[in-house]
Amino acid sequence: MTAPLEERSSADGGEQHRTAFGLALSIDPRISIAGLGQSQAASAQPPSRIYLDDGELDRRWGVLTSAPLRARELRFGETLLLSVDFAEPAGYLMWARDFARVLISPDGLELLCEPDHANGDWASILPAQALPLAATIRGLEILHASGVVLGGRAVLLAGPLGAGKSSLAAALVGAGGRLLSDDAVALQMSDGALVAHAGSVVLHLRAAENERLSADARAALGRPERSFPGKQRYVSAGAPDPAPLAALFLLERSAEQPAVERLGAVSPFELIASTFNLSVRTPARMRRQLDVVSAIAASGVAHRLRVQPDVDATQLATIVQEQLQEL
């Protein structure tokens, strides 16, 4: 299932070579994406190409051989914020309100972008949604989690919105860790073990949590960028190398004191709910998703971390580090 390749109008040469979500990326020089890893050596896998080409997206979406199938919708109230449609042979058409349309080829090797130029930050939709989808197509499984590499081991933090994932990730970076991702991490089975790949190393920290940090702690988070309402954005200096998954902490709000518990019997459906991308529902992907969830459960890395709403994230980071020493 490969979309037909046509001659493209984007400039030859000058592509940026980056990595994210376990993918090698070749990016049109006109597209700026913050927080991606630097590509080191030549990769054995072909890169996914991200590019602009006026009119090409509509041309491809205009010659479908199958009716578009709505694979996903994301709404806020009545307002549609994001949709994903799939049709042969074009692939997955992602539409994100006020950001862009991105056509992702059925093999995940091409991401053809049509930006909303009124939004100078349109490209942030790529690491937030489009690249996780491309990585899922290409055989990785994305976990909706923040992640940090500590001592060469990956520590992932999953939980509901507002549970404190980003704050805890920031505290772990302050304790010497390197940010894997604020929101989504790619997992891959390698020699029977799970390996975590960095997503976008951009951290969005609540203003109240940001104000708690010392100047040194803020410096450790990277380059501060323009703030969003109620949040401060930091871009890390670089992404860490892939690391073996050592622990997954499932954050749970609680009125009780913070406490951690290693889970002997983690609910598979809780883990499935933490996976990121529901647009790709091919048999191979569904089977892989179940295999990765099974591997997480079998490896004994899952923990429950109870978090009070206003707990100091550095206190939680200490609890996490103490637990890691026992693994």
Binding site: A265, V266, S267, F269, P283, M286, R287, L290
Partner: protein, 112 residues
Amino acid sequence: MTDKRADISTVPQLSDEELLDARARLPQHVVHRSFVSETVVLNLRTGKYHGLNPTAGKMLDALEAAPTVGDAVPLLAAEYGLGQEGIQSDLLALTRGLLERGLIVTGDDSAA
């Protein structure tokens, strides 16, 4: 099981005796994985997940291993130290539930 029932209009209505003599197999589009707390059964055609409690998970394993549904009864009775009559009743109920959801088929055609 956690999912809604499938359309049962196409499921053959077998008597208890016919079902006990039948061979139960997972079709190729159904996979399952065992966890400590439950067994997850995934229908790759529909994308639907189903959860089985540990006892039902053991029953599914026995159905896969035994030549017929009836042959699974003594295996399970021995494992749980219970009478075959009660086990048989529970196993038949589970088998019908799995058939209705398309998670197992009877006969030798696992490609169905």
